[in-house]
């Protein structure tokens, strides 16, 4: 369980995280979504005490991470792939982490097995691929068998098999009752993995919701219809109060009626329907729509650098501190 309250982190003039509050509850995968530079990595670094918050606080299992003398048994984190001495073996990297928290050597062997690195345990980590580095990072997060887990972009650099492996792993952690926070800028990956979404842009909370609601919110409410007799259906729908637009391919785009009503209108006017599709936004579309204002680096000249404090409607400060 992680509680983030009013978290603000400023680097010089840059506001990386701006009054962010959310929870990471047990038993769920919480997807932490946002464009690059939105403050995801900074937030995660603050959670594990690597960076100090400027304001606000973070509680992990009810206390500050910095007060924990064996934190690996409570929180496992993967913040960066290959944050490993290239000359040190995977086994020794895990061993020093384990021993600093009083975790047994036997457990080091176990987690190496869990992530499939036994065969290269004695090899220097400098020769590892990005995917192997991710597996080593995940092994480190598993060492203390913690109830709370934090992963920053865990599928980066993984092949499709590895991506499915991580996805399954994260879901199984949540199913075991652990609190799992996983960041990504890959919306499709979050749709498959996360139970709920915390969406940030420019350090601010944009949404804290379920995946389904997030998509629903961005959906237009339009319905696409094809039928055997488009003119007759159009007339009937307009009579029922809908706004109808003709699409170039001959289909009708309907606004102002729910799908069941559209079906009923078609049945009443005895028109055979070929297709009736509510126009749901994809997670990507929903994401783009909601974060459009907060994208840091768009293909336009940067027009504003810092907000003037006196301006009545200040834009959030640019937050370009991604890692």
């Amino acid at each position: 369980m992680i509680e983030i309250r009013g978290l603000t982190r400023r680097y010089g003039d840059t506001l990386a995280v701006d009054d962010l509050s959310f929870d990471v509850p047990p038993g769920q995968v919480t997807g932490f979504l946002g464009p690059n530079g939105a403050g995801k990595s900074t937030t995660m670094r603050v959670i594990v005490g690597l960076d100090r918050p400027t304001h606000g606080h973070v509680r992990v299992n009810g206390h500050r991470y910095r007060d924990d003398r064996a934190p690996l048994t409570e929180v496992g984190s993967l913040l960066e792939a290959k944050a490993v001495h290239p000359g040190r073996s995977a086994y020794n990297h895990l061993l020093f982490l384990a021993r600093s928290n009083g975790i047994s050597r036997r457990r080091v062997g176990e987690v190496l097995g869990l992530v499939g690195l036994e065969a290269v345990a004695g090899k220097r980590a400098g020769g590892f691929s990005l995917g192997m580095g991710q597996r080593l990072g995940i092994a480190a997060a598993l060492l203390g068998d913690p109830a709370t887990m934090i992963f920053d972009e865990p599928v980066n650099g993984l092949d499709p098999e590895g991506i499915i492996w991580v996805r399954t792993l994260l879901k199984s952690f949540a199913a075991q009752g652990r609190a799992v926070l996983v960041s990504s800028h890959l919306m499709a990956e979050m749709a498959l993995t996360a139970d709920r979404l915390v969406v940030v842009g420019r350090g601010k909370l944009i949404a804290d919701t379920s995946v389904a609601d997030f998509i629903h919110r961005a959906s237009s409410g339009q319905i696409l219809v094809r039928s055997a007799d488009q003119p007759r259906l159009r007339t009937a729908l307009i009579a029922a109060g809908a706004t109808v637009t003709d699409e170039p391919d001959g289909s009708l785009l309907i606004e102002g009626l729910e799908s069941p009503l559209v079906g009923r209108v078609a049945a009443d006017s005895q028109v055979i329907l070929h297709e009736l599709t509510p126009q749901r936004a994809s997670l990507e579309q929903a994401f783009m729509e909601l974060t459009a204002d907060s994208l840091d680096y768009q293909g336009q000249p940067q027009n504003q650098s810092q907000p003037q404090p006196a301006q009545p409607q200040p834009e959030p400060a640019s937050a370009g501190t991604g890692h």
């Binding site: 984190s77 913040l79 290239p86 040190r88 020794n92 990297h93 020093f96 982490l97 009083g102 068998d145």
Partner: protein
């Protein structure tokens, strides 16, 4: 743009909290106990000493640097001893009178300090250059516990290697010098101090390197600063006016630390143990400044 909270999911679609496993009683597939009470500071220190020892011994650069330190110190002592034996008859009365076999036997320390100093810097700076510091501090958020453990493990390791090295340098060079009957022995006045002092000199320089690396967080910056302090500073002080030079030069790290390696201290130097203490003082200043940076700055 204002923060927008989207409507929370319908409570009916939420998993019933009562059916969710409580993390504290979470069934553990591997049968490991759930986290027990917090360990005490002593336990944590002991664990971190072990962790830092694993770190130090598990990278090749440690063994290579320590062997190189020993090889340089011992090799120089023996090579120079052969040279002196060869030149002895042509050295003249003044040169022969100034020859001090114990000091001579540890003169390789002048070069060995650079190797072990670089190792001291690497022991800390590699944490930053490789990103290991983030794993380290995630496991031990009590940064001072980690830092003190690292210093302790490194000091003991460096001390063992350094004292063995200077002893071996002495023991192997004396038989060579004995060819001209110009050797000395452990029992001679001042000799044990020179040998032990030279070993401690190496430890002090290594700790200075570690402290500078904690302060600067960069391998090259730490090593070049260390070399600057140890080697360049005495050269620069040579350009001071003579009366200034006498007062200031003795306090330079190299000159202060070298005093302990003189059997007969020269008048322009600090007393042997005082000089060594001054060198350790520089190391402690660097370590304390490094601690401040470690505690205050983001990792």
């Amino acid at each position: 743009m204002s923060t927008t909270n989207i409507t929370q999911p319908d409570p009916s679609t939420q998993p019933d909290p009562s059916t969710q496993p409580d993390p504290s009683t979470r069934p553990d597939p591997a049968g490991r106990p759930s986290p027990g009470p917090q360990p005490g500071l002593t336990t944590q220190l002991a664990r971190n000493l072990e962790a830092e020892w694993i770190k130090l011994r598990s990278v090749r650069s440690t063994m290579i640097s320590l062997l190189a330190t020993a090889a340089v110190c011992i090799g120089f002592a023996d090579l120079l001893a052969f040279g002196v034996v060869n030149r002895w008859d042509r050295m003249g009365a003044q040169g022969q009178a100034n020859f001090e076999p114990a000091t001579f036997a540890v003169s390789g320390v002048l070069f060995g300090q650079l190797v072990i100093g670089a190792l001291g810097a690497l022991a800390m700076s590699a944490e930053y250059s490789t990103g290991t510091i983030r794993a380290t501090l995630s496991a031990t958020p009590q940064r001072l516990v980690m830092y003190l453990s690292k210093i302790a493990v490194f000091t003991v390791t460096a001390l063992a290697v350094a004292v063995v090295t200077t002893t071996v340098a002495f023991v192997t060079s004396q038989p060579i010098l004995a060819g001209k009957h110009i050797g000395t022995s452990f029992s001679a006045a001042g000799v044990p101090r020179v040998i032990i002092g030279a070993g401690l000199f190496l430890v002090a320089v290594a700790l200075l390197g570690l402290g500078l690396a904690a302060l600067l967080r960069h391998t090259a910056a730490a090593i070049s600063t260390l070399f600057g302090l140890m080697l360049v500073m005495p050269l620069i002080l040579n350009f001071l006016p003579n009366d200034w030079q006498d007062r200031v030069s003795r306090w330079a790290p190299l000159n202060a630390g070298s005093a302990v390696m003189q059997v007969h201290p020269e008048s322009n130097m600090l007393a042997p143990w005082t000089g060594l203490a001054v060198l350790f003082g520089y190391a402690v200043i660097a370590l304390v400044l490094g601690a401040a940076v470690l505690l205050r700055r983001d990792a």
